[in-house]
């Protein structure tokens, strides 16, 4: 090595464990609040080999009164200055701050504290500001060292050039017997390797040349020393005036694992000359460069890992992703997540549907209902509590609020609306209000992707059935009897690509030929009374049935969303009793399986059938003449229908067909 060279030092960098920020946030909110005066914290560096540049780590234990006791790591006392505003953070005198920290090291040298606790020669300072609304953390680490102290380097070499294996083993045994709090800096006898605590420098004043000045190094680069040697020099200059201007032998202790054995093979002998001039350091340096290599602070956003709401959202998404990774690699979870769902009816079905949608990761759910939570509701309607009844909350609003309590990541809204119904005349005084309601319902439907009909009366389904069809939405319907249910998807309109895959024993109906709730009910009036799965009787039902139907209608919706044809997906209706859809049938199904048109279930026998029916050309809700009337006349047409549902029958030519009066919508009871 050339005589004139100066020894180079590798500075520390900072490494923050996530748990540090958790604790930091907790202390800021609960303890320090607006306090800015500085808090003592611990940092740790390791003297065990890694391929990395040296770093000081902080974690949650950094805030403890006593630093963590971990083998292989040395504690460094530091100070955290947490500013209350970004302005205070920016305007803080950084040079002054690191100088104050350096002056404290200097104090500890001259008052002798460093003799007992050599670790005090190392220190660090953290300047920070936390924007806890946005979870932005600004911070800047400094590792103070005097700016003007240099070492003239004579030799820097592996100690293996100087010592044999036995000697190195002996060195390690002695080293490992040192207390961790003395390992920062110590003395090693050059002949017999006896190790002395740093405070021995005072007594050994005249024989110091018989000792190596030793320190535990965090740096593993064989050409350089770690940062800690800088302050050690300062200490030696102060206490050992005979060493000033002299050559000193340093041992940089670096522990590594060589062939399964702990070894000092990577340790260095550094022979260097201390300066002659000496005094209290005027300037201190050591602010860390940021990730762009500039002298400046760093910022990290921790919203995703500290904000509990984000944690919940991530966990929900991850749970669904596991389904994708493990079972259904082709499932499109984003499509489900982004589906805007409108739930018409916030009763027992609405609650069940909302919960299953939440389970599928749906984030946008709107509720519509016209009543308040009553005392009988909470036991059956899973989103309500007793308190909601006492407060007399509107059901739609209560459902939306409570859904957010279950999962704050959901965007849920409630609308208190009475859906206008055929045969419910609109008086002069309510005309304006009815128009507003129709407009509101239309807007809600237009804004959504999937509309669920979950009301407890039949005629209230008419308007949303028509609007859903006109505006091209997926409409799904669930209706309950005492121990029966009907779950169905409404047919869509428009042209679709060919899907003519016929399966033996099944009739195939394309999605744009499928019927709606009204066509199907009218085309199947022959069902015996006990099989009437609809709300034609009343809302007294077996309590489990709404959970079943609510779950099924969501699963049906999800299957439609995952089908490449969406609402145009064909349905298959079993023609022969023995026919089965098997895996090699050329069925147009989706990754979740087949898409039925409707599901009718009977709890008395615990059975379910999957009928599919074509649209009915004279349907009072979805036939072309009705759609056309709405398109051309709009509200005027609707008003006529509200005033007299006879209009519908006349228009569709049903009037003359009716023989069974009690199967028509006009005879529906108004009560719910």
């Amino acid at each position: 090595m050339e005589q004139s060279q100066l020894l180079q030092f590798v500075p520390f960098s900072s490494c923050i464990n996530h748990s540090f920020w958790n604790k930091y946030t907790e202390i800021k909110l609960d303890v320090d609040k607006l306090e800015e005066k500085g808090r003592s914290i611990w940092g740790y560096y390791s003297y065990i080999e890694s391929q990395l540049s040296p770093f000081i780590e902080v974690d949650s234990t950094s805030f403890n009164i006593k630093g963590a006791d971990l083998k292989g790591q040395l504690a460094v006392a530091g100070k955290l200055f947490n500013k209350n505003t970004i302005e205070n953070f920016k305007d803080c005198d950084k040079m002054g701050l690191i100088k104050a920290s350096g002056d404290e090291i200097w104090e500890n040298i001259i008052n002798g504290k460093c003799l007992k606790s050599p670790g005090l020669l190392n220190s660090f300072v953290v300047l920070s500001f936390a924007d806890l609304k946005k979870y932005n953390y600004y911070y800047w680490f400094g590792f103070p060292a005097p700016s003007n102290v240099n070492l003239k380097l004579n030799v820097i070499e592996d100690i293996s050039g100087k010592f044999n294996n036995d000697q190195m083993d002996q060195l390690y045994v002695n080293y490992s017997n040192l207390c961790e709090d003395q390992k920062h800096f110590f003395l090693v006898h050059k002949e017999h390797f006896e190790m002395k605590h740093l405070e021995a420098v005072v007594d050994l004043k005249d024989t110091l040349d018989q000792y190596y000045m030793a320190f535990s190094d965090a740096c593993f680069d064989p050409k350089y020393s770690g940062w800690v040697l800088k302050n050690f020099m300062l200490f030696l200059m102060y206490y050992c005036d005979k060493l000033r201007g002299k050559q000193v032998d340093f041992l940089s202790f670096r522990v590594s694992r060589e062939n399964g054995k702990i070894s000092l093979l990577k340790s260095l002998l550094i022979r260097a000359s201390l300066p002659e001039e000496f005094g209290k350091p005027e300037a201190w340096i050591g602010w860390e460069r940021n990730e762009r290599g500039k002298m400046g602070p760093r910022m990290v956003n921790l919203k995703s890992s500290i904000d509990p709401q984000c944690l919940a959202e991530t966990a929900v998404d991850l749970n669904l992703k596991l389904m994708k990774w493990r079972l259904l690699p082709d499932i499109d979870l984003e499509k489900i997540k982004n589906a805007k769902c409108l739930l018409l009816g916030s009763g027992t079905l609405g609650c069940s549907v909302a919960r299953v949608l939440l389970g599928w990761g749906v984030r946008q759910i709107k509720f519509v209902d016209n009543s308040t939570v009553s005392y009988s509701n909470p036991v059956r309607q899973s989103l309500f509590t007793y308190e909601d009844c006492v407060a007399g909350k509107p059901k739609a609003q209560a459902a939306a609020d409570n859904l957010k309590k279950i999962f704050p990541g959901v965007e849920s809204e409630g609308y208190n609306l009475t859906i206008p119904m055929p045969g419910h005349p609109v008086g002069e005084s309510t005309l304006e209000h009815t128009k507003e309601t129709v407009d509101k319902l239309r807007d809600l439907i237009v804004e959504s992707d999937v509309v669920f009909l979950l009301m407890d009366s039949r005629e209230s389904r008419w308007l949303p059935t028509l609007l859903g069809l006109v505006y091209g939405k997926l409409v799904l319907n669930a209706a309950l009897g005492f121990d029966t249910y009907l779950v169905m998807r409404h047919g869509v309109r428009g042209e679709t690509q060919n899907c003519s895959n016929n399966v033996k024993g099944f009739k195939m109906i394309k999605g744009n030929n499928l019927g709606c709730y009204f066509c199907n009910d009218i085309t199947a009036p022959g069902n015996s009374l006990k099989d009437r799965s609809l709300d034609q009787q009343c809302t007294v039902t077996r309590p489990g049935i709404s959970q079943i139907a609510g779950a099924l209608v969501v699963e049906l919706a999800i299957s439609i969303l995952q089908h490449k044809l969406g609402g145009f997906a064909p349905a298959y209706y079993k023609m022969q009793k023995s026919a089965e859809i098997c895996e090699d049938s050329a069925v147009e199904d989706c990754i979740l399986g087949v898409l039925p048109h409707s599901l009718r279930g009977f709890l008395s026998t615990f059975t379910q059938v999957l009928p599919a029916t074509e649209k009915y050309n004279q349907c009072i809700a979805c036939s072309d003449s009705i759609v056309e009337a709405y398109r051309t006349k709009g509200f005027e047409f609707l008003l006529n229908v509200f005033n007299s549902s006879q209009v519908l029958e006349d228009m569709t030519g049903l009037t003359e067909m009716y023989t069974l009066k009690d199967n028509t919508i006009m005879d529906m009871s108004d009560s719910e």
Binding site: C15, N17, L52, R257, G260, I262, N301, S305, L322
Partner: protein, 157 residues
């Protein structure tokens, strides 16, 4: 299956050996209480020129009665890697991730990436000849998530 007593015993044994080897494992949590303690180690690693800190925890899973390996990965600014980033760092890209999931840490009650314990019991039966099945298990499954146990640990199995 491994009961809590056995788990703690093996845990302490591994920790003692780690101390000898200066391998950095520490027992954290409350050692006295059932399922209150766990073994932890931080492993710094360079990835694409950035320092990442892998924090490995060996915890006990009460319902499966087996040890469980969980971990989180941090950047030096304290931000945590998301699962897809972890998968990238661990080199799992494009492979089906069959056992890696996210679960709450039984002691810390915070989400950690976890090797799901559903198959661990079978594996533990396989290690029944080992004097320390915990170490045997960890040395076998650790490498899948970048945790390599030093050969010296074999002396306690």
């Amino acid at each position: 299956m491994l009961d809590w007593e056995e788990f703690s015993k093996h845990l302490s044994q591994m920790k003692s050996l780690s101390d000898e080897l200066l391998d950095g494992w520490a027992i954290l949590g409350k050692t006295g209480t059932e399922n209150g303690a766990y073994l932890a180690k931080k492993v710094p690693r360079l990835f694409e020129e950035a320092l990442l800190l892998f924090e490995y925890n060996v915890v006990y899973d009460l319902s499966y009665g087996v040890p469980k390996l969980c971990f989180n990965v941090f950047r030096t600014d304290g931000s945590m890697l998301q699962l897809n980033e972890c998968i990238h760092v661990l080199g799992f890209d494009g492979e089906p991730v069959l056992v890696l999931t996210q679960m709450d840490h039984p002691v810390l009650q915070r989400p950690f990436f976890t090797l799901h314990p559903c198959k661990t019991s079978e594996f533990m039966d396989f290690c029944s000849n080992s004097k320390n099945p915990l170490v045997s298990w960890l040395s076998a499954i650790g490498p899948t998530v970048g945790l390599n146990l030093a050969n010296e640990y074999s002396q306690c199995t």
